[in-house]
Symmetry: D2
Subunit: 456 residues, 4 copies
């Protein structure tokens, strides 16, 4: 693969260079500003000229874009939003025609006419060598700009739509990441790890270079050295309740043949520019299959997951004055959390634990957003994938980040292959949070009386 790609890359580079030479001449004539020139080039690329010299034109455009400053790029995004939007005249005509016949052909023309011109532009950009990655990076720039420029969101939507098609699951390739992986890929694993920071190469090595640690990533053939998403897996003898022993570089290694439990303890998306394209669901399920084929003795597949919205929610409950879940005694107990030293104090931890567990059970099982959905984004992800809430671990992550985010709380979601579809439908169809009886037992009083979904 790599040798073909590289050959291919060199070659396209060479086509592009010749093309650029031709283009440079005319560019000196033009006195227009950078963004205007870029727009002009884009028009050429959409015109017939793009058919003859498409590779050169696309390369030139992406090169120019690459050298632009932020302001110039925003000007270009504005042009994408306005100049390369829908052809209004064509659309009006198509609506009118559809109104007359309502035929399939008229509907098809309506679909074509309502496609923003920038979509074809993006597809033609992709003729240039390395363009797919450039487009992913371009969208990252756009997302930065979006914060203040909501008017550009239509462009962002189009990127998302195009990438969903290009990064279709059928084109993804799963690769094991280990110590024989090229350094330029491993470097990105270090950089993109979003859940439990990888501090340096030794830390990385502890996660990928021992038989009881696996790591897998999805790749796309057009982004050779760029992982899209990766998951880190620890092989254990039981479901773990805390992250520190897993990350400990000095831990005792386990013979994989003796492991019964695969723990997905970190899942990180790598490409912000691919936001909205979902990979995680597919990745987890494929890794479950892959790893259970290699190690047939594995019977349990769980995550060890953060509860990223729990900390803020808990603070709000404590401050609200009318919490539906926290009793006066709970509130008193939770004052212990205000002492920054509490994680180091045995008694404090012991006192806090049952309150946190009960409160967290309420947070996951009962509390709902305005839209009626669970409050926790990680919960929504795994429950939506068909996992069930298996266990609540009060003292799961006592790092500064873990305390700040969730008062140290972590949870396990469990994937049972034969229940996935059922769980998924229960969650999406009826909003049920499927949970183990252990979790449900943590609910107190009236909440536990609610008819909660049984887990098989």
């Amino acid at each position: 693969m790599s040798s073909n790609t590289s050959f291919f890359g060199d070659l396209l580079g060479s086509i592009a260079e010749r093309g650029r030479a031709l283009l440079e001449r005319s560019s000196r004539v033009s006195g227009a500003t950078k963004a205007a020139t870029l727009v002009e080039r884009c028009e050429e690329l959409l015109s017939g000229k793009g058919e003859a010299s498409g590779v050169a034109l696309a390369t030139d455009i992406l090169d120019r874009y690459g050298r632009m400053k932020t302001g110039e790029r925003i000007a270009f995004f504005e042009a994408l939003a306005q100049t390369f939007g829908v052809d209004r005249a064509r659309l009006a005509a198509a609506i009118e025609a559809y109104g007359r016949t309502e035929s399939d052909a008229a509907a098809a023309e309506l679909h074509a006419a309502s496609e923003p011109r920038r979509l074809e532009l993006f597809r033609r950009f992709n003729m240039a060598q390395g363009a797919t990655l450039s487009l992913v990076r371009m969208r990252e720039n756009l997302m930065d700009a979006l914060v203040h420029r909501r008017d550009l969101s239509a462009v962002d939507r189009d990127f998302g739509h195009l990438f969903s098609t290009w990064f279709n699951r059928g084109f993804l390739v799963l690769r094991r990441i280990d110590w024989a992986t090229p350094a330029n890929v491993l470097e990105k694993i270090i950089r993109y790890e979003a859940v439990h920071e990888i501090r340096d190469w030794n830390d990385l090595r502890a996660r990928v270079d021992s038989p009881d640690r696996h790591c897998y990533a999805f790749f796309h053939p057009a982004l050779v050295d760029e992982p899209l998403i990766f998951v880190e897996v620890a092989l254990e003898k039981e479901i773990p309740g805390a992250i520190a022993p897993i990350l400990d570089q000095q831990r005792q290694h386990l013979d994989p043949a003796k492991a019964t439990t695969a723990v997905f303890y970190s899942i990180s998306n790598c490409q912000r520019g691919l936001s909205g394209v979902s990979f995680g669901n597919f990745l987890i399920k494929q890794v479950v299959e892959e790893i259970s084929r290699e190690l047939p003795n594995l019977t349990t597949f769980v995550t060890l997951s953060p509860a990223p919205a729990f900390g803020k929610w808990l603070e709000a409950e404590r401050a609200s004055g009318s919490s539906a879940v926290l009793s006066a005694a709970d509130l008193e107990t939770l004052k212990l959390l205000d002492d920054p030293e509490w994680p180091q104090k045995d008694e404090a931890r012991d006192t806090i634990t049952p309150v946190l567990q009960a409160t967290a059970a309420y947070y996951f099982l009962v509390a709902r957003s305005a839209k009626g959905r669970p409050l926790d984004p990680v919960a929504r992800f795994h429950l939506g994938n068909g996992a069930r809430l298996e266990r609540i671990n009060a003292m799961g992550d006592l790092s500064a980040k873990g305390i700040a985010q969730a008062a140290g709380l972590m949870v396990n979601y469990r994937y049972v292959l034969t229940d996935i579809e059922k769980n998924h439908e229960a969650f999406l169809g009826k909003g049920d949070v499927v949970a183990s009886s252990a979790v449900k037992k943590l609910l107190r009083g009236e909440h536990s009386a609610r008819a909660l979904v049984p887990a098989s």
Copy 2:
């Protein structure tokens, strides 16, 4: 690549198997007919269920489809056309909303609402292992059905649209085809060669296993062993006028370092199911670059091409009674063509040659279709790519096929990199056929007086 893909393939197979087991049970319950069951599965795949068990569902659907007979498949295509077309209600609402605001968001919803549901269905099919190839083959089945069922053409259009996006030029990989290429790929080169038949493995070897013969193909990462298009190249010392010496297995080999001319003597598309996705233009230009980097002594890049519509046109002219190009003397001369032995007779060939040349010059340079375009499809392809008509060879292909198709005529189109854009624009913009002066000189009388485009 291959090892990952294969691993990947195995794995998906395994996911699918387990999924299938689950599905089988429910399938026994259903008593519906095959096509109806398939439609039902497709609805599931489009529903939330598809998110949880997408790979298994998609695999099941493609397996079922694969076992269907022609009639059942057509029933399925009908469902694709009708059941999985545009959501009319949503579209009507979107039109109405757009009418009110004409906002970008309303236009975007209009675009989404006018997308036939089958497009999302196709994208979800692609979760299954090997689905991309299955979908290409599905479209081939559809194209067979289209002959009698024009009502299915909307489905075909959607396939074409999707494949254009998936098989975007940026995802194609050029690979050299030679004697070290895997046999399962070479076998397809034999099978797909559409211009000059490859009779057997020895014939193939003569085309790919000598230093003065090259062959290149485009591949897509999801179709590992399936070439999409390939081109065969002969290295020569001059522009050739006939195909037989090139194909001759006993020919004298030429030291590539002494070659000046690369002759593209055969270009074949391999996947009928990818019809409408254009690869040829890109392939030729990339091969020109590739081969001139490897052999910097090459200065001339030409094709040796058939003229597939010339034979029929010539017969029509001869029969018309009012040909604008054939004089009475010409008609008399061309009666020689009615003797099946003419290609073996020196005198006949000599007599026919000048008449054929002049007539062919008219056919290419002057004659136009009702839409004002050149009559020859191969001419339209190369001229549209920016090549120029370099030479007309009266006795280029005296095989039975060559005689039948074009009275033995072949032509050379020449690619001059620096003229490609200019030629392309002249052809597409003004309909000019750029030709060498040698070709233009072949025109007689009033035709040559026409202002013809000069070639640089």
Copy 3:
């Protein structure tokens, strides 16, 4: 691998070219004959000059050799035998020194002094690109010459010794051969098949491109596209007694999951120049392991083997007048073999079968060469590897070749992994032919009374 090798090859080519340019000049000065020049170059290569310009010199020498005619090559072999033999003076001194001290150091010097100079020469030849293959081919030329020139056999012995070290089992790589194997390798499988001819590409495909047929070869990293030895395997439900059904292109394919028996029906060495280096033993055992890991349902590993010396031996027995095994009745029966049509006659086959079986049992179990070894070379190979003689098949190969070689007889040798060592020791230590009781029962009269080795 291949890309590095190729890069590597190109590079060495380039070093060599520059070196050659330097060498050419001096070569014009020299007026010596070709062989003399070659010898001179070889002396340079052995001298200090070879250290500075070794790659160029070695390349030049192998190029010159490559262009030589047979007579010139034999002259060169003579020089290898005489000029590049042992340094007699150094050897005499080393013997004398050893006589004095008998020290390890003196023994080491004796070993070094008794090494023919050509061995170091061969090792230095190997600096040139592709030299390993050139040396294998050079030995083939030498073997041709040996027929009439036994005085060159010392050179041949040295080649054999060197190749044993270079082609040590630890450097061999097993590769599956199938329809995705490069054509230039498959072509060699066709060419090198020595047991049951592969007629053409379709015949090859029947042997490597169906799930119930496997093929494996050993390769050496320095001979990228050259198999060293390969074995063809048929998956069956029982031990087969005839070759024709296995080779039948129209046969019914068997689902590998239903196979119980792996049949090694053809083993071919590919490189005559590596004669004396044994690969077969290792290949069979590694393939047994490989294939039983992939298909755990396989329980039986047998060959279907020719008996290449049986035909001649049988004729001699028939002609001898005093056969120890053939009775008068047998002799009468065997006259049927003199009718060339016998294989087509049911009755003849039925009559001959029991006589052939009993005679063959004697041939394998009782008859011995002057050295006391079994007469059949294939038997010696498999029994030496630790297999046992499992079955005698009277009508195993009724092709012309099979009839000529062994009156149609074939045998099965069976590999039982746990018995291999025991069988091997019985055969090599005591000369016992381990056979199944079925085979032993075929022996008649006094022969069966002999204490024959029981098979477990």
Copy 4:
């Protein structure tokens, strides 16, 4: 490659396991000590048993060896030296026979008889998976023992002899080392760098991941992830005189297209166990070819090398009281070196420089060892390869190591392809040190009067 190797590895592992199971049983019976058991196994491996179960036996032996402690290993080395030495009786007979006939055959038997039995043993060890690396490591253990046990040196010599044949230059593969190289290989580059320490991954990256820095290594196919030797190359605009700017992570990068000079600033052997097998000469020359093909603008190929024996020699001269090169004034000047701060003092550096240069010129050009060879091992290596001494740099390496080793001195050796053979012969034949006129001019007084070799 990797997939085959791995497959191969797994397989051999599996053969070995089964074999081991068989062997274990008998091992419990034996009550012998570990080393004795190992010797017993080795005898079995050399016997016929080794032919049937060689892979299992060899694997068992190397496993046992791997678990041994130092003392046990030395006992095993003693057995290798004594029990597996030459077969004295056979040797005596061979000497006697040779004395009678002096025939080629007798000489061949003498050669065979004088081969220590351990050589065949080592070759059979190599049947086990990964054995080649194990043998290299075994020799490292032996080299450690040699310090006190010179009686084992014969075993070491045999390892060296065998490895020279196995690691013949024709089997080495050159690979570029860069940031896309697998981490397990890069880690070894960090570990094995012997000249200028690589401190961490960032330091490594500065040396392999910028366009003006290249790194190449030789590999052997049987040692997949183990570089044998590597060289680091800096692309520069002129011949550099100091190492610090080259290693500076903050340096300005140079566009390779503007470089004229390739500087080999570090060459490190990686495998102590392959000591005596020369790779450096081949590596430098192949990299010169490789890099000049890629960058045709490069005209100059030089090293920037340490002078590892200069420091000690200089101290001895200063202490001798009768130095042939140091005048009283020189001795006075060089007292500055006794101030540890001198490298930081401008004036001291300026004062010392000319004296160091002149003294170093004498050290390289005039001074000789008892055997008449230059004193500096790095000089002997490069001059022996055909390089010339190009420049002496007084302040080349002011690091603590550089000061300690050579008072900060570094030198450039230059490789001019067309002079390599001439230089090599001058050096090896006549002992001439070929040097640039600049270096020769540094010599003072009577030394410069000596007839020194001119450099072209």
